[in-house]
Amino acid sequence: MSKPPLGVRIQRFLPYFLFAPALSYIMVLVGYPLIQAVQLAFTDPSTGAFSSVNFQTLFNDPHFWDALRNTFLLALIVIPIQVFLALIIALLINTRFKGHNTLLYIVTLPLTISDVAAGLIWYSILAPRGFLNKFLINVHIISKPIYFFGYAFRHMEFLALVATEVWRATAIVFVIIFAGLQMISRDYLEAAEVFGATFRQKLRYIILPLLKPSLQAALLIRTLFALQIFGVVWILAGRDIPVLAGEAYYWQTDVRNYHVASAYAIIIALISIIISFIYITTLKPHYARRE
């Protein structure tokens, strides 16, 4: 058998050749930091020896447990609201009413607004002299401003975070759900209508089951982002409400202890991996199952 011609041989290696630059970049600027992070987290800063001292520091710090609790609590409150709202808005736009394109544009606007900017936007509404307080005082519902910010009011601060996150990041969930909704064939819905299905029946037996992969993707993405929540919290609450990424930032920039900061980063990454795994195994769509 003779060798294939030169052109074919080059062709065979072309995809690898095209992928090589990106792959080497990922190896160096993703792979290296990953290894380095593990190394930093497991090194004793004073002796340079392998040690779990950084994790001991972290586990003995009450701020860590607060941060863990707050990060999860925020995710648990914010994400269900976002999924619920996003689903309603997606169904609304999918009716293709006149003007639905305008609404689509408006709803996706917050996608481009950074968490820091969103925090400042909601601060202008909820500040002691913000629009909400001024409005409520002037219609005589309250006589003194409601305080949302400051350590003494951190339960209210938590509410402010929820309001900001729901406003800012519902759009991400919406985009995923809307994309999934558009892929559901109109034939199914029309067939259901022929048999006299109500809207609720269509939602329960056709739309939601077919939307399951999109819902799964939306949930996963939102949860991963929620675990990294930082900008909003830092701008609105600082360390009044510790979160995992905020603590990592604090140890990195204020304490200048890269080792403990890396330990935080590793914990965020580990939780992300575990949650991805749980989502992917438990929420797997069952296309084959018929009932």
Partner: protein
Amino acid sequence: MTMRKEIFTPEKKQQIYRLLLYGGAVIVSVWILAPIALIALAALSTPRDLYDIHKVLPTSFTLDHMYKLLFVLGAWQALINSILVALLTIGLSFLLGLPAGYALSRFIFPGRDTLKLLVLTTRMFPVMILAIPLTVLYIQLGLSDTLVGVALAHTSMVLPFVILITSSIFASVPVEYEEAAMIFGLSHAKAFLKVTLPLALPGLAASAIFTFIMSWNEVFVAAILTFTNRTLPAHILTTALASPDYFKFAAGLIMTIPAMIFVFIARKYLVTMWGITLR
């Protein structure tokens, strides 16, 4: 089948349906738009109106806070830095990501699935774990506190997205066009440059904007890797807490405007694009 007495006539039902539809649309629009309008009002109102408890909406306006924030408090330089970092990130991530995306969309080769999986997993890593160790590496390389350093980190953040987006854009250009061009004697590279690339250009432009927004909005990495050469979000994050309210509001407005302009330009593509990358 049983006959059920309808409470509403079909016309009445239609009316209620329309009312719910448009009512819902109006409520959602106000919920999204009002905060943006309010930050603009807050950023432009005079301190007297801002702190006057009896004035819900300001009536006198000034550009003073925007001007001072930009030119006295260093936000202008930070804004320029942000743009430079974003442009560098676009350039670098496209230089690396475009060929990879093309390879994924046009070739079936051993290891393709593994590479795709690698790209997908890279996307899942939190930026914290990428950025914190980089501070140590950057000190050794002399890249700490440089815009190039931030752009390199942003590139590793956006590269997986760029690969996935460009591969789906190239996949939407029929491979037959490229093959036809090659039959007429063009080389593969020429066929790509003269046929596929022009057809993919609008999508690529939109994905460049997507990349721009990701870099423009990123704050954790930028704040950790710089001390003086801050990008805008990092600059605001580290100075806002000590600033009076009107500067905070001005900062919120300045950060919001450019991204909104970009989305307006590329709105047709962006929704599908986010759909692709987030799946």
